[in-house]
Amino acid sequence: MLRSSGALVATSAVLAACSSAKPSVARIGESPTTVKLEDLAVTDVVLLRTAMSMETMAATMLTNSAVTGLASKDAAPVIAAFAADHISHLEDLRVLIAARNGSAYSETNTKLMQAYGQPALDLVANGKVEADVLALMHAVETLIAATYQYFVSLTVEPALRADLVRLGGRSSRRSAVSAQLINGGTGGFAPANDKDGVALVATLPGAFGSLSAVQVALGPVNDTGTRATVLMDTPSLNSLIY
């Protein structure tokens, strides 16, 4: 009993020393304190709020003056209609969020807007290339479709998965129409390269919806004869709207 008690006391002392908040080793300079991240769950409402942020971002990008100012007479009404579609989806999402006692989110996705939304708009503004308008629209619609497809894998409620796929299907259709506006006719359906070996925009780039980053070349031609490529990824844990 005495031996056991002694061991217990000694162990307690060691553990107490380890748990001390004060550093026991001499240190030069200041050590930043670490703040434990809050535990946040990816719920269905979080996904819906993030979807709202993505739809808002898409509408914001398509109505930006850098885009509308460069759009051709034929493309302008299509771009306006697509932007209006994204705004109408916000109402669909708002209803789905309200049904789950969540709060709607009316801002753009700040992180993704900073990561690639604003840089893409800046490139379009700097390049002043009319073709960039359709290229950007195609990329944005492909991104939104991929976002909804990806969210199916995170959604708990089956009925909501179907609702998300319906919204994603609308963006898929817009993406296909955008691709046809760039490279029209049945010749534009399959992936192909031009005479210089550069990949053309395909209406049907694959049999299954892709979740890889959407790539789009935008802006002015640089010194090496190439253009900046913007990579647009679907939202992830650090860009969800909790």
Partner: protein, 177 residues
Amino acid sequence: MSMTTRRRLIASLLAGGAVVAAAPLFAGHASAADNAAPPHRDAADNAALNACLERESRMVATYRGIIGGLADNDLAAMTLILDHHIAYAHSLKGYLAVEAETPSSAPLASPTGSLASIARQLAALEDSTATIHTDTIGSIKGLDAAMLLASIVTVEARHAAALELIAGATPIAAVGN
């Protein structure tokens, strides 16, 4: 106090401590159970997935029926979509494995006429196929099958819009507005 009694006391204290220590752990598990992750697959989904497989098999038969009369880019485009539907049927069959039933291979329609006319009829079929799959996503529990169908619907929506354009629809109408 006898040695036996002391041991019992220590054992009781240790057991009590273990219960106290384990309580939050169990509580954590209880919380996790409330937000239970959806199942990856569910045998109850098989009937609905077999219906999707049958639909894709019939889409394959429909496209096989029309490509004979096409040429050049039109033939390449329709063959590409045919290949997509073959891939969908294979993927569903692979998912269902031994639970896959032999699907009908009867075409859903026999589109004829100009390319625009054929494309219009095919667009409608693509649309309804995407709707069938989307409704299935809403009814099945298995996450893997839902993800597979979602990746199919994403492209079938593209088929529908592209075919609408070939049929002569305006870009805004082809989106479904």
